[in-house]
């Protein structure tokens, strides 16, 4: 689906991290947590490509026009890392965007009886909020949030409000425990039930460490990957990662955009 959207708000929630709310067609409500959208940050040719963002939240709001009734909105949480995101951060209420999505395969909820362990590194928290909202309906949800410092720990109060039990770790100890989020996760894993599921999103080294822990404790683990992509629909083959059966003679490449961004960690080759 491709749609024109209007920015409703664009707020800096922590230095260089923004949360943008924008209008979306009602059909976006059928998307599942973990899917993403491709946003054209301006109509010009520089920057040329769309930017992918995980869906942070979806909802409806009452419009000021009585005949319009309730309108659907979409939220993204993003970090300013380059030209495209810098331009995005300057947009205001009333500005327009061209959006493609929802795209890709999202998270699978799994057994409701099992504990849900969400692990987010920095802006990797983005797709986990929408996931948490869905999971708390039926399951006990824990969030493990990691970052370099307290400014990398985003929107924790929103997770709190959902009733999610949160654990924080920062490299410099400015918030939560000092150290890696995976260390905090491991303390929990040693007593987690076998039917628990891990859902992780963040930098690749963190995902690799989480995948290793999932193997070690025999716990199901889904990871949401980031990829440098041009199209978002599986055509350009720019964002591929190696699947578990990959070799030079038997290529097993998976597109982050189409086969993911969410994968079962056991399906990937973690070199």
């Amino acid at each position: 689906m491709q749609f024109k959207s209007m920015v409703l708000s664009n707020v800096e929630v922590s230095p260089s991290y923004f949360r943008m709310r924008m209008t979306a067609p009602p059909t976006i409500g059928s998307s599942c947590p973990g899917q993403f959208v491709m946003v054209k940050v301006n109509p010009a040719i520089d920057p040329l490509l769309r930017r992918p963002f995980g869906v942070f939240d979806l909802g409806t709001f009452e419009t000021e026009f009585t005949d319009c009734g309730r309108q659907t909105y979409l939220e993204i949480l993003y970090k300013v890392v380059g030209k495209g995101t810098a331009m995005l951060s300057t947009l205001h209420h009333g500005d327009h965007l061209d959006i493609l999505g929802p795209l890709g395969k999202g998270f699978t909820p799994g057994d409701p009886a099992g504990e849900k362990l969400l692990v987010g590194g920095g802006v990797g928290l983005a797709p986990l909020y929408y996931l948490a909202k869905e999971l708390v309906r039926e399951s006990r949800v824990h969030l493990f949030a990691g970052g370099r410092n307290k400014e990398d720990i985003l929107c924790i109060t929103e997770f709190d409000r959902l009733g999610v039990e949160t654990y924080v770790a920062t490299d410099d100890g400015t918030l939560g425990a000092q150290g890696l989020v995976t260390e905090v996760l491991e303390q929990h894993l040693s007593r987690a039930g076998a039917n628990a599921t891990i859902y992780a999103c963040g930098p690749t080294p963190m995902l690799k460490a989480v995948a290793f822990l999932a193997e070690k404790y025999g716990i199901a683990c889904q990871v949401s990957l980031e990829g440098y992509m041009a199209c978002g629909v599986g055509a350009c083959l720019g964002c591929v990662v190696q699947g578990k059966d990959h070799s030079e003679t038997t290529p097993d490449y998976r597109c982050v955009c189409k086969d993911g961004p969410v994968f079962d960690q056991a399906d990937l080759l973690w070199s």
């Binding site: 040719i45 041009a230 629909v233 055509a235 083959l237 964002c239």
Partner: protein
């Protein structure tokens, strides 16, 4: 005026309009079906196909540059057996002509691919890739030497009765020499240009951004180069020329047609807007209606160069 005639003929392949999708930017067709009506575009050119499945290059494979992008995918593809088994059945369902882009590691592989595709009814024609800048063997090795190009095109010609398009590289001193060599060897049409070899550097790490170090530049940044080469080649050969290079809008496409292109291919624009090819075809029709032109063929090569 009612509906102007947009149809063109490329070496016997009848296109309802002159807008095709470029190889490597449109998958095998089905990827884009949710976003545009495949029946509204002129032709689909599928991802470069080799005999065996090809893994492609390590990542990062893509980087954005001002007005363009560099790619070093390295011709990752499913190989001809999977293509025939899994992709052809879908292509059977659409009436739009499907042209298969093919590529070999050796002269013999080009011949074998052409011969195997010759028997497949769903394949309307082939596009011989002698211009990929991202693979060590084959590809551009054949596309930068007029003698080598002649040999490969001649061999493919002997192995196929289907219309044969040869895709040329801009990474040569004289594109007209290459074009003539391919036509002499039996090419029914020429498509140009493939990407320009380029690179991008990360100042922080002081390393090339692409794992392959260099990649192929595409997008609006290359349009003036492509337009010039299409104009030069279209004047020098009698076979149809297909223009490719940074076409984002109907205006861009019409410029290529004026320069001598019988049809155009949409590449990078598909990534930004998966419905680009359909939008551009509609835009060409609007231009013809608004300017009272009854037939697109009136515009082909109609560029005025006198002052």
């Amino acid at each position: 005026m009612t509906h102007p005639n947009l149809s063109v003929d490329i070496a016997g392949i009848k296109l309802r309009n002159p807008v095709m999708t470029a190889s490597g930017t449109f998958g095998y067709g089905s990827e884009f079906a949710p976003y545009l009506d495949l029946e509204k575009i002129g032709a689909i050119i599928t991802k470069g196909l080799s005999i065996k499945p090809k893994a492609g290059n390590p990542t990062p494979r893509i980087v954005e540059t001002p007005g363009g992008m560099l790619n070093a995918i390295g011709l990752q593809n499913v190989g001809i057996d999977t293509f025939i088994g899994e992709k052809v059945p879908y292509l059977r369902k659409i009436s739009t002509p499907v042209i298969v882009n093919l590529y070999g590691n050796s002269l013999e592989e080009y011949g074998e691919l052409a011969s195997r595709l010759d028997g497949i009814a769903e394949v309307a024609g082939i596009e011989v890739n002698i211009s990929c800048p991202n693979v060590k063997q084959g590809g551009i090795v054949f596309g930068t030497d007029p003698k080598a190009a002649f040999e490969v095109v001649d061999l493919v010609r002997k192995n196929t009765g289907k219309p044969m398009i040869v895709k040329l590289s801009p990474n040569v001193t004289d594109v007209v020499v290459m074009a003539k060599s391919c036509v002499d060897a039996g090419a029914d049409a020429l498509s140009l240009i493939n990407t320009l070899t380029g690179m991008a550097i990360d100042l922080k790490s002081r390393r090339p951004i692409l794992a392959n170090i260099t990649g192929g530049l595409s997008g609006p940044a290359i349009k003036p180069v492509a337009l010039r080469m299409v104009w030069q080649v279209a004047r020098a050969v009698t076979v149809p020329v297909i223009g490719i290079g940074g076409i984002m809008t109907a205006v861009d496409a019409l410029e290529f047609i004026l320069a001598g292109a019988t049809a155009v291919q949409i590449g990078t624009a598909n990534f930004l807007d998966p419905s680009a090819a359909e939008t551009i075809a509609a835009g060409i029709e609007t231009y013809l209606v608004e300017n009272g032109i009854a037939d697109i063929r009136e515009l082909i090569g109609a560029l005025k160069t006198d002052r």
